[in-house]
């Protein structure tokens, strides 16, 4: 049951990426092109996602609902770290270069886009290097 629900959440997420247009790198670049021909679509995607997530999370917390008896994770914020600010900036540069963040790149594997087939393995290598450099995810 748990794995079925997680498969379903993945399907919803992947379909949402395609429907929203965020798997189209030119649309993402269009959003980041604030000083040029700006395309606000990504703001609506992010807004819709954050709104649904926030309202749903509040509802789950208020009613104490548990799915598959699993407790919700701790989402309390940590202090902002310098390492993570620099990392996020590096991510942003890569995002602005290709118009892919991890989700859309993976979603584009389903359509066998050559850019995604190249991007994803290199993303994995980048993650591996960061994990070894900063001893992460242990």
């Amino acid at each position: 049951m748990k794995l079925f629900l997680i498969l379903l959440s993945g399907v919803l997420f992947g379909a949402g990426l395609i429907i929203s247009g965020m798997t189209d790198p030119s649309r993402v670049i269009g959003f980041l092109d604030v000083f040029g021909n700006w395309d606000p679509a990504l703001a609506f995607v992010m807004g819709g996602a954050v709104l649904v997530f926030a309202c749903g999370l509040m509802l789950l917390r208020k009613t104490g609902t548990r799915i598959c008896a699993t407790p919700l994770p701790d989402t309390s914020p940590d202090p902002v770290s310098k390492r993570m600010v620099i990392g996020s900036a590096i991510f942003g540069i890569g995002w602005g270069l290709g118009g892919f963040c991890p989700g859309p790149a993976l979603a584009n594997l389903s359509t066998l886009r050559i850019e995604a087939l190249l991007f994803v393995p290199l993303m994995l290598i980048g993650m591996f290097i960061a994990q070894r450099t900063f001893d992460l995810d242990r």
Partner: protein
């Protein structure tokens, strides 16, 4: 511009993230899901692979059924080498930064975490700056 499809797509992304979080008990950012498959912990891998399989199936299904946005175009001047470098930077940066558009952006901001808001603003600002510089270096979007 049509903002209905982005809103509906976004709502599905938020719903999928929430359901994955409630069922797994973990914060389901895409970069974190992938990263902890690369460096696995016993008993914490199956749901991650299941989610990613679902994501690829859902995307393939929506594309096959022609749902929502149909466009796909490479931004001006970006050859395969650019995507290779971008992949490395996105992989390295999301791990060093502890999350991506979904982990910090959707789940983090959606749970009201102040640090996630800061990281989201940082990667958005860096993305905006990168596109700006790219466009300045290659005027008119012509390949540099």
């Amino acid at each position: 511009m049509n903002f209905i499809e982005p809103l509906i797509g976004g709502a599905l992304i938020g719903l999928g993230s929430l359901l994955a979080m409630a069922a797994s008990g973990k914060i389901p950012g895409i970069s974190g899901i992938v990263a902890r498959i690369i460096r696995p912990k016993a008993g914490d891998v199956g749901w991650r692979i299941t989610f990613l399989v679902g994501l690829i199936i859902g995307a393939g299904l929506a594309a096959f059924l022609n749902l929502g946005w149909q466009g796909y175009a490479l931004p001006a001047g970006r050859g395969l080498a650019v995507f290779a470098v971008a992949g490395l930077l996105v992989g390295f940066g999301t791990r060093m930064g502890g999350g991506c558009t979904s982990g910090h952006g959707v789940c983090g901001m959606g749970s009201g975490a102040r640090d996630a808001l800061v990281y989201t603003l940082v990667f958005m600002a860096a993305g905006v700056a990168t596109v700006l510089v790219w466009n300045l270096i290659s005027p008119g979007g012509v390949a540099a």
